[in-house]
Amino acid sequence: MAAGLPLSIGHAIAGALAALILGTLAAVAWVAGGLSGLTEWDLRAVWFTLWQAALSATLSAALAVPVARALARRRFRGRGLLVTLLGAPFILPVIVAVLGLIAIFGRNGALNGALEAVGLPAIGIYGWQGVILAHVFFNLPLSVRLILQGWQAIPAERFRLAASLDFAPRDIARHLERPMLRGVLPGVWLAVFLVCLTSFTVALALGGGPRATTVELAIYQAFRFDFDLGRAAALGLVQIAICVGAALLAARIAIPAGFGAGLDAVGGPPAPGGWRRLADAAVIAAAAAFLLAPLISVTLAGLPRLTTLPPEVWQATRRSVLMAVTSALLASGAALALALTIARGGARWVEGAGMLPLIASPLVLGTGLFILLRGTVTPQQMALPVTALINAAMALPFALRALIPAARTLQDDYGRLAASLDLRGWARLRLLVLPRLARPLGFGAGLAAALAMGDLGVITLFAGDNPTLPLMLYQLMNGYRMADAAACALLLMAISLALFWAFDRGGRHGA
């Protein structure tokens, strides 16, 4: 009864993904002639990876609760814009975010300046504190979004019932909000935990040396400095094992799916007055300051030299945008095919394959591809396609998370109607699937574009003579041109946000 075409495409993509992720790991291990043993320091890296991810996830989820509650029960001018802006850190290129965080939380940053002025001790962001601060910065918006959706999913009738029973805010919390949080929080925690597990560049940039070495960083060192491919492959396996463990945990906990859902549903919980009003205002202001101040400081630092950036930067910009858009189309296309297959009750491994990139090491992926493609094409030719492909793969799980629920709803609501009207193939895609899934598709494409835009070029094996914008930023820094680098960071931030906005907006418009 299902149309044959997209079904087989979905299976083919799932198979290709699994082959890509596991095949590259195998290729690295094969060239190394097997796996090497791990050192004491590698085990420390495993331990650090686990606890920093756990702490980051706990902090992100805990801090997100009051913010989400305040946003859920308050209505004010600019709320929609604020909610949108608060989402920005999640799609910010890591290097840009780190520059912004240092400008605010650094030793010489705005916050410590203010603390010093009032005679308070300074706070430090280097080492593991920095890694965790950055992870909270990236993932707090994600957590707030997911929890806010939980709040909005509580039916308005229940709040009305509570009002008619004269519930005080603490009664509402006990009978309505806490049960919701118990349902939502484990999934939020797990989602952030998984993201932080494979985080690589944060630890690279804010580092702190042996105390803050993650597994992905250890892979980088094994590969790049010790040229120990066997250890790199072994660490890659360890990383996958950790993530599979987390995923098994995830099988018991449902990860909330509504990444891409709208946030402006009417209704919501009642807005209590008194001190709670002030507290909510303070919470919203603090979250906005935490999440937006780094963005503002990047903007201020970059503006002076923006117009005088050398022409090479603009060439790199064009190249990066092209690559990011390609990535976005690849990711959303693949996610669509997978989601449709899954929604039709495709085998469970299809969904698993779609989630695989979340646990893969981009470095192992890049190196494996290099090994596999060696001899057939020159790496320079493959630089941009491979970067686009890897970034598309990395963004796929997020796009898929947003798409699967929508695709299921589509199948449940209109699958039979479409079948009975003989709506199949391209006509079905054009007249039913694309219009109905435009929103999550646009969201997923935007996310992929932003992630690809900020890619640091971990696959420098492929680097040709055509640097991308983030690589250009590093070249400027390497040439001592820090002011130009700041302008480049602003450009990178602006384009990443603009690409996300354009795709997301396009999706909403199309819906």
Partner: protein, 323 residues
């Protein structure tokens, strides 16, 4: 006759140019618009009647992975301290240059790897922020309230040089030296550029960099407040190296390139494009800004075998200090 020859020449020229391609693997900092790459490409193409093509990326891992099948004719930008493994691969051929009168502070007898620039590790500070910089390594170890940024020896060549620097100065006491240094280390970054960015942002008082770093600020920004602290214990030598690939399909071109590296034509571009010192150029021919830089009295350098033997234990020592 003429009318036959001219079209033939027109046809032949591009073919010849395409035949003679010299493929040079080089690091990202070399080929960038703000590195020495563009000057090198232009300079060599002017004399070789060939097309010099840079291939950017992680040079050594890539060559090692490609092995004998590599497309590289020249590998440009290798580092001292990393030559042992490169040499062991057997991929490289002798450079054939006379290295007896180089302008290096140390004797150079390596027959495979040829230095084209050099410098020494040093801590750079801002004299407006740090009025009394430590006058020696010993003072740095004892200094209070100084925050430094360094690079990770597991991911950065300057970080590895620092490891060997401390080992050269403190020998068996290197572990204790690191233990004293560790509390002053604000953070350890992956590479030099992140560290230097933190320093120019005012996050750190001193940054692990090179004795030549102040030259950039003086020459390009007319800022003479950035200085390298010169320590009597000595500074660790670092050079960037070039080597030709034994299995090159362009042996003549590759040799021509190696012959060209030490000529004044090439060497004169190094100081202001690479912000380092030329490997073979009389001091009188250096740019004024480089001649004016304070020079350390002692230059430290470990032989390849010493460095390779010390690398793992020194790294372990370092990791323990930061545990």
């Amino acid at each position: 006759m003429k009318s036959i020859l001219i079209p033939a020449l027109l046809l032949a020229t591009p073919v010849i140019a395409q035949d003679r391609v010299l493929t040079v693997y080089a690091g990202d900092s070399v080929t960038s618009e703000w590195g020495p790459g563009p000057a090198i490409e232009q300079g060599f193409e002017a004399i070789c009647d060939c097309d010099l093509q840079f291939v950017t990326g992680d040079v050594l891992p890539r060559v090692m992975m490609e092995g004998a099948g590599t497309q590289a004719d020249i590998v440009f930008g290798l580092n001292t301290d990393m030559t042992a493994r490169a040499r062991a691969s057997g991929l490289f051929a002798p450079h054939g240059q006379d290295t007896s009168d180089l302008s290096l502070p140390i004797a150079w007898e390596d027959e495979i790897f040829l230095p084209y620039n050099w410098g020494e590790t040093a801590f750079v500070y801002d004299s407006t922020r740090l009025e009394n910089p430590p006058a020696s390594f010993a003072e740095l170890l004892e200094a209070e309230d100084i925050r430094i940024v360094i690079q990770d020896p597991r991911s950065s060549v300057s970080g590895l040089a620092m490891l060997l620097w401390v080992k050269s100065v403190y020998g068996d006491q290197a572990g204790e030296a690191w233990a004293k240094l560790a509390p002053k280390v604000l953070t350890v970054t992956r590479g030099w550029s992140e560290s230097y960015g933190l320093f120019t942002d005012g996050e750190a008082d001193m940054v692990l960099s090179y004795t030549t770093s102040p030259a950039y600020h003086i020459a390009a920004e007319e800022d003479d407040t950035k200085r390298a602290a010169i320590f009597p214990e000595g500074h660790y030598f670092m050079a960037e190296l070039v080597a030709q690939v034994a299995g090159t399909d362009q042996p003549e071109l590759a040799q021509q390139f190696m012959d060209w590296v030490l000529t004044p034509d090439f060497q004169a571009t190094i100081p202001l494009a690479n912000w380092s010192l030329p490997a073979k150029l009389p001091q009188d021919d250096w740019p004024q800004v480089m001649r004016d830089l304070p020079r350390p009295d002692t230059t430290l350098f470990l032989s390849e075998d010493e460095a390779e033997a010390l690398r793992a234990p020194a790294l372990d020592e370092w990791q323990r200090a930061f545990r």
